[in-house]
């Protein structure tokens, strides 16, 4: 547990006073109009929304997520965090188009792009979905904060979840987006400073950059093994040559595995697993294995008892670095073998290579995954909503004072995110070198926080905790204000009270903020495994609507009914493809990148016929939208019509 010195308390109290001060200082600006409460009057220079983009996307769960993938995959794990790179293209395409539309929200943009009943249904649907998603995001970020506070101070998780989000609500309720963006600016600076200090400090504790690389060269090999929950027998492990199938090493004695609900194992569980982690760490660091040219399994051995349902590191002698191996286990004395990993690298130096893939389609990090992710992230920049981050970015885009400011705010905010992830990645290699034997994801996810709490000197821990508060509050404040924007602008004002005064709208904004806060507590208390939820949300739930999100921007013929159909189809199909059908054995369990392509294809079979079977959007409406936003892509008929009506200065060739 972390003990605070006086200086630590001073850091924390100063920071909280600064944040709440933001609410007081900008209260007057925030209450001027709806545009001020939600978009800071559309007058911000690019660097303010840019720091807000960066600060918002640096949440309490983000270092956990990045640590999780880097600890497991080495620097190749950077590509998991490269989803943010959709802004590379978006900054110059969809950001420009969206900024020109002037829509407050993505839901409102859809009323500009589409028309009639379909558009109205879509606006309500997207707004409702966003209100839900905002509560969901705040829930998972909040529970991450709960976990950090539990690790640091031993508090129950609900305390960290509720206490700091409630403090954040003070300045969001008072000053709206003005409070959010001004606090984000300070929080962004504090968070970046802390990320640099803690990461460099942690790397020094691990022996410095040279020391980390040298240690990786001398550690034995390891690979994660998730033992299925229902296993309750002795297991053999073997290591084979992936090309020839030659067995290089096999367990000398079977390893006993206890069922998770076995009374003897439940008594021991946590303490026993912690001791095992330490033991595995020592075995990994034992350089005696290096001298042994012959591959030999060092952990688990016959005397080690494992518990089903947990994750362990299998350790074997380093062998030749760069060589690949297959790992299998058997529950029937070697009669049949079940694969643990394919094409896994020997040694640990592969962790320094950001391109250490395990084959084209095989193993834990295949090239096919990498290509899929690059396509999703980069090509997604042509669309709107291809990433869940779009909705927060959309608010920042509209708060920028010009189209140019909007483009640069998105580009530079994301550049900072990319740089931040890489700094973390280098530091997590240091954490791995210090604690190489941790098996459970939930434990190593806290790696970056451990570097700060365990290695920073007294007096700096308070600064570190203030920075954790900064990254937590920046995300919560954004989500509170954003959710309130959808609730106020797209639901209340659009459907319930179109003639509401500016003053009334601001109070509705505040009331919605409060409701969202309460909703986030409920969601937060329901969540446990952060990484699992993030992967599902980022990867799967977006798969079926990824292409429609692009088509709505680049193709004039795509209409509201097609878009609505894709959403509904994706919601059903994603659960079917990911869980239901594999559970009943109807289809095999697909790797996540194949799930993406399958969902994209399956939903297209639904929304494309619906698009063609229903009428195109009204041409008058499309021409208005086209002249105002000047979208990229296949807009030929609309362009011609706009030229015919004399609304465009000259004839230009369009797709």
């Amino acid at each position: 547990m972390v003990q605070f010195a006086l200086l630590d308390w001073i850091w924390m109290i100063l920071f909280l006073a600064l944040m709440i001060g933001c609410g007081v200082l900008f209260y007057r600006l925030g209450k001027r109009s709806e545009s001020d409460f939600f978009l800071a009057g559309r007058g911000l220079p690019w660097w303010l929304p840019a720091t807000s983009v960066y600060a918002t996307h640096t949440a309490t769960d983000t270092p956990m997520w990045v640590t999780g993938v880097i600890y497991k995959y080495g620097l190749t794990g950077i590509w998991y965090s490269f989803f943010a790179a959709w802004c590379a293209i978006s900054a110059f395409v969809s950001t420009r188009i969206f900024r020109r539309s002037l829509a407050y929200t993505q839901a409102e943009w859809q009323s500009l792009r589409f028309t009639g009943l379909g558009s109205e249904l879509l606006r309500g649907w997207v707004a409702g979905w966003q209100v839900f998603m905002n509560m969901f995001i705040m829930g998972w970020v909040g529970i991450a904060m709960g976990k950090v506070c539990q690790y640091a101070f031993g508090w129950p998780t609900w305390v960290g979840l509720i206490a700091f989000s409630a403090i954040c609500a003070i300045y969001v309720l008072a000053a709206g987006y003005w409070g959010v963006v001004m606090a984000d600016f300070q929080q962004g600076i504090i968070a970046l400073a802390a990320i640099l200090i803690v990461s460099i400090w942690g790397m020094i504790a691990a022996g410095g950059p040279g020391g980390i690389i040298n240690r990786l060269k001398t550690l034995n090999s390891s690979c994660e093994w998730v033992i299925p929950k229902d296993v309750a027998s002795d297991a053999l492990i073997r290591i084979t040559d992936p090309n020839t199938g030659t067995v290089w090493a096999q367990s000398e004695n079977p390893v006993p595995i206890l069922k998770k609900d076995d009374p003897t194992s439940t008594e021991q569980n946590q303490q026993y697993l912690e001791k095992l982690d330490e033991k595995v760490g020592q075995i990994l660091a034992n350089q005696a294995g290096l001298k042994n040219k012959q591959v030999q399994i060092l952990f688990p051995a016959g005397q080690d008892t494992l518990i089903a349902g947990f994750t362990y590191s299998i350790v074997w002698t380093a062998g030749e670095s760069g060589e690949k191996v297959n790992l299998d286990y058997s529950l029937d004395q070697g009669k049949s073998w079940i694969n643990i990993d394919i094409n896994h690298y020997n040694g640990q130096t592969w962790r320094i290579n950001p391109f250490s893939f395990s084959g084209f389609t095989q193993g834990q990090f295949p090239v096919a995954w990498f290509i899929t992710m690059m396509i999703i992230a980069l090509i997604g920049g042509f669309g709107m909503g291809t990433s869940i981050d779009w909705y927060t970015e959309a608010q920042r885009i509209q708060s920028a004072r010009t189209v140019r400011d909007a483009s640069y705010s998105i580009w530079w905010g994301t550049a900072l995110v990319v740089i931040r992830n890489s700094i973390w990645a280098a530091a997590i290699l240091g954490f791995f070198v210090l604690f190489p034997g941790i098996g459970e994801t939930g434990k190593y996810e806290l790696g970056w926080f451990r570097l700060g709490f365990d290695f920073l000197p007294a007096g700096m821990v308070g600064f570190f905790f203030a920075a954790i508060l900064a990254i937590h509050l920046s995300t919560i404040s954004t989500q509170l204000n954003l959710g309130a924007l959808y609730a106020t602008r797209d639901l209340y004002q659009h459907y319930l009270n179109p003639e509401a005064t500016e003053q009334k709208l601001i109070w509705i904004g505040r009331f919605s903020t409060f409701l969202l806060l309460l909703g986030s507590f409920i969601f937060g208390l329901m969540m446990e495994e952060i990484t699992k939820w993030l992967i599902f949300a980022l990867w799967i739930m977006a798969a079926g609507v990824w292409l429609p999100n692009i088509l709505q921007v680049i193709w004039w013929r795509f209409n509201a009914w097609g878009y609505l159909a894709s959403w509904i189809a994706n919601l059903g199909l994603s659960w079917l493809v990911v869980w239901v059908l594999p559970a009943f054995g109807i289809i095999p369990e697909l790797p996540d990148y194949l799930q993406f392509w399958a969902l994209m294809l399956l939903t297209a079979f639904i929304y494309l016929p619906i698009t063609y079977l229903t009428k195109p959007e009204d041409m008058d409406h499309l021409v208005k939208y086209y002249v105002m936003s000047r979208p990229i892509g296949f807009w030929g008929p609309v362009h011609k019509e706009a030229v015919k009506r004399g609304l465009l200065a000259e004839v230009q060739a369009v797709g």
Partner: protein, 98 residues
């Protein structure tokens, strides 16, 4: 005319053209180089500094290519923004729709 256009008319800046596509290509490359270059530079590997250097060159190049066009679009668009905002408020009131 130079390969990269530096002077823009309002109508030409509104159109999607070669300069946009160059920015669209350079920008992701800059991000990839930033990601890899930063991580390897923090490990003090020479190749990291080289890649980071490439990233910085790419960023400068991207700005040089796209900035004049973005400036022109912004100046021209700001003149029309007030009218567009009024139009937006009408659309927000959904019972006014035909």
């Amino acid at each position: 005319m130079a390969f990269i256009r530096r002077e823009w008319t309002a109508a030409a800046a509104d159109d999607w053209c070669k300069e946009d596509w160059l920015a669209i290509i350079i920008s992701p490359l800059a991000y990839v180089a930033l990601a890899v270059g930063t991580a390897l530079s923090f490990l003090l590997l020479p190749v990291g500094f080289l890649i980071l250097g490439i990233a910085i060159v790419l960023i400068f190049l991207m700005h040089w290519v796209i900035d004049p066009k973005l400036k022109k679009i912004s100046i021209d668009y700001e003149k029309k923004q007030k009218d567009y905002l009024e139009q937006l408020e009408k659309i927000t009131r959904w019972e006014d729709l035909k």
